[in-house]
């Protein structure tokens, strides 16, 4: 009996010795990265990390999938408060102000100076870096960037007697085509949205309208949202009108509406570009893509960048910071950025990668992955309204937007009343946030 006990102890000891990371023995600098990329995107991340480690024998980067964006942020907050935060964390775009105000991070623009290097920030794609800039400098490294676009079913367009190569450019056209689609009996509803709250924000940005005061919360913390402005009410009024005609059907949050589009029950879907691979693969019809439809008579802005970026935790040793920087530089290498785009559908973040993709003829092979890229490159880059809104309690305010859209579409409240209610709640949260983050 006693022998077995000692055997077990010995075994446990032997195991624990084996588990001591090889890297520590080899004297490598270890850094950890928490990310929220699962499924096929997670595999691409793993491949990048593996190649990085192979190319950098001094560093050992460990990438850990830490749940959804929300979960990753919550975990990061907890870890930071208990001083066990990873070197690098991926945070979604709505968490940007939270991270900026966190006091937990080093802005990426300061890192080259800290490790004694120089870096050319102009090599990144401007509409993407615009989103993550504060005071003219980049605070987090763009990683997986997407935007919204219009997907449409070419087969259903043809069935309804519409030109399958002429998607709607304006909401007026969309309404007319929607009526035809319904009248032809091809579909019962023509259009739905993914991320309806985000689509509402997109409407503001693509028409160069401010969503909140203080330059969309980009010059100082926003204290007031402008969602119940004349423009906001006009947009929601229009959506409700389309819903009453049966042209628009509200499809729920995030990706719930995708299945209706892929099943051919609706002919058009406004959704994130990150759905492109899934939609193309999962649909038995010809998928077309187009810019987000516009309202006539309004100035043009740009579509807002979504997705996530990478933030560097402060208080790391110089060696760790050097390792983190090596990785961030690695991500900017054209071949890495190209592989990332091809594997996931997210935008390549550096201009050189875009050039490589163009030279290679990638976009002519897959024109749908060019659509959204042209959309952001052809849009305005010089206004805060076009860069998109930045809010402290953004996640909550987005819920208020969604609730307002849901209530208005269901006929529970008028669009104006629904947006007023959302704006009142949002302003209170903004005031709370401003008080805590003076």
């Amino acid at each position: 009996m006693k022998d077995i006990k000692w055997l077990l102890v010995g075994l446990a000891w032997a195991l624990s010795v084996c588990l001591v990371p090889q890297a520590a023995l080899a004297g490598k600098v270890q850094i950890t990265w928490w990310h929220a990329m699962s499924g096929s995107n997670g595999k691409v991340v793993d491949a990048i990390v593996k190649d990085f480690n192979a190319a950098h024998p001094d560093f050992e980067l460990k990438a850990l999938y830490s749940g959804s964006y929300e979960e990753t942020l919550t975990r990061y907050v907890t870890a930071y408060r208990s001083k066990t935060a990873p070197s690098l964390v991926q945070s979604y775009e709505v968490g940007t102000q939270t991270m900026l105000s966190s006091g937990a991070i080093v802005p990426v623009y300061q890192i080259p100076g800290m490790v004694g290097e120089k870096w050319d920030w102009a090599q990144y794609v401007i509409p993407i870096t615009n989103y993550y800039q504060s005071g003219g400098n980049l605070w987090s490294m763009p990683f997986n960037s997407s935007t919204a676009m219009l997907y449409y079913n070419k087969d259903l367009f043809a069935k309804a007697g519409l030109d399958p190569n002429r998607p709607p450019a304006t909401w007026e056209e969309l309404e007319a085509q929607g009526k035809k689609l319904l009248a032809s009996g091809a579909v019962k509803h023509a259009l739905s949205f993914g991320w309806p709250d985000w689509q509402f924000e997109q409407m503001f940005a693509t028409h160069n309208q401010l969503f909140a005061n203080n330059d969309n919360g980009r010059s100082r913390l926003a204290t007031k949202v402008l969602i119940n402005s004349a423009f906001g009410v006009k947009v929601l009024d229009m959506w409700v009108r389309l819903a009453k005609q049966g042209i628009f059907i509200y499809g729920g949050p995030e990706y719930s509406a995708n299945s209706a589009f892929q099943g051919g029950q609706i002919a058009m879907l406004m959704q994130s570009t990150s759905s492109l691979a899934g939609i193309t693969k999962g649909s038995k019809f010809k998928v077309g893509t187009a810019f987000l439809p516009r309202l006539e008579g309004y100035p043009s802005g740009n579509s807002v960048i979504g997705g996530a970026s990478l933030w560097v935790t402060k208080g790391q040793s110089k060696e760790q910071l050097r390792a983190v920087w090596a990785f961030l530089k690695y991500l900017a290498q054209p071949k890495v950025a190209v592989a990332w785009h091809k594997g996931t559908g997210y935008f390549p973040a550096v201009n050189a990668a875009v050039a490589d993709l163009l030279n290679e003829g990638w976009f002519s092979k897959d024109p749908n992955s060019l659509t959204a890229f042209l959309q952001i490159l052809s849009g305005r880059r010089d206004t805060a309204a076009a860069a998109g809104v930045r809010l402290g309690p953004f996640v909550q305010i987005r819920e208020f937007e969604r609730t307002a859209i849901e209530k208005a579409v269901a006929g529970q409240l008028s669009p104006k009343a629904a947006l007023d209610e959302a704006a009142r709640k949002a302003d209170q949260l903004l005031a709370d946030f401003a008080r805590l983050n003076p």
Partner: protein, 301 residues
């Protein structure tokens, strides 16, 4: 300290009993009492997500929560949902258990067929119901549209419908569990009682009302309590998969709202205040239920 009587009840070292209960007390202390006290403290503060700034706000978190229309809507939704789960769910379970208790062919098959829903993970159950009711692709909206002249059944926009669907799914999910207990309770009722009632000329309804139901009261009390806890807390998974509290917060029940405030919006103060409020409500409801029901319950036979 230790008198003779104690010595007799607990032979051995006088401290032994305390040592023996220490592990349980320690676990409860570390995992329940300490976090609870922490929540009580947090509920009086407002703080940034990263804890960089914390302001004492007194009772403001409570005032805010109780004054907000969202919270009242959430409480109402919780009340409606839990009433449905408790009243309709339990009544249906009892009726089915009564039927399953008959000596019929294939009894085992029927029992399993009704009980298996409990073995489903909430995510699976939620996905099944969500797919069934998916506005554009689901089976139920399709049937409704065929039957009622293209009526659009869209629970993504219709809050009342969403609450009903979630309530039905929640009650359905709990059906198996309730049936198992009711079945066990029914099978424990001595046959003689029922026979005697029959001899006295009682019909099936009378037998049920005066014999079966009172004899089942310990089971019913237990299930009442379990279902309340279920409807308040464990429905979380279903809500998260099916509606995420929407549309228009129609299914944003208390526990889901608390989760979102704490882990999505990183507002520890408001979330702590809510958790204390739920704690008080559940404690009061539980005490009343137990008091009331145990007085009525017939344990002796």
């Amino acid at each position: 300290m230790a008198n003779a009587a104690d010595q007799e009840r607990f032979p051995g070292h006088p401290l032994l009993p305390y040592v023996l209960v220490l592990p349980s007390v320690a676990v409860i202390g570390v995992f329940l009492v300490v976090p609870f006290l922490q929540s009580v403290q947090d509920s009086f503060y407002a703080s940034t997500a990263f804890g960089t700034n914390t302001i004492y706000v007194g009772l403001r978190n409570y005032e805010r929560v109780l004054a907000s229309s969202d919270y009242r809507d959430s409480a109402l939704a919780t009340l409606l949902l839990s009433s449905f789960v408790i009243v309709v769910g339990l009544a249906l379970s009892l009726a089915i258990a009564q039927l399953l208790n008959q000596k019929i062919r294939g009894q085992g098959f029927y029992q399993v067929a009704f009980i298996w829903t409990y073995a489903l993970a909430p995510s699976v159950a939620g996905a099944i119901w969500a797919l069934m009711f998916a506005p554009a692709t689901g089976f139920v909206p399709f049937v409704v549209a065929e039957l009622f002249d293209d009526y659009v059944l869209n629970w993504m926009t219709n809050g009342d419908l969403a609450l009903l669907v979630v309530s039905v799914a929640a009650a359905w999910k709990m059906l198996g569990y309730n049936i198992v207990f009711f079945l066990a309770g029914l099978q424990n009722i001595p046959e003689e009682f029922v026979q005697a009632a029959k001899v006295d000329g009682a019909g099936p309804w009378r037998t049920f009302r005066d014999i079966t139901f009172p004899m089942l009261s310990p089971t019913t009390t237990f299930l009442l309590f379990v279902n309340t806890i279920y409807a308040f807390f464990q429905i979380f998974g279903l809500i998260d998969i099916m509606t995420r509290g929407g549309p228009g917060n129609a299914t944003n029940i208390l526990i889901y709202k608390l989760y979102r405030d704490a882990f999505l919006y990183l507002d520890a103060g408001a979330a702590s205040a809510q958790s204390i409020i739920i704690f008080v409500v559940i404690a009061v409801a539980g005490t009343i239920q137990l008091r009331f029901a145990t007085r009525k319950a017939i344990y002796a036979r």
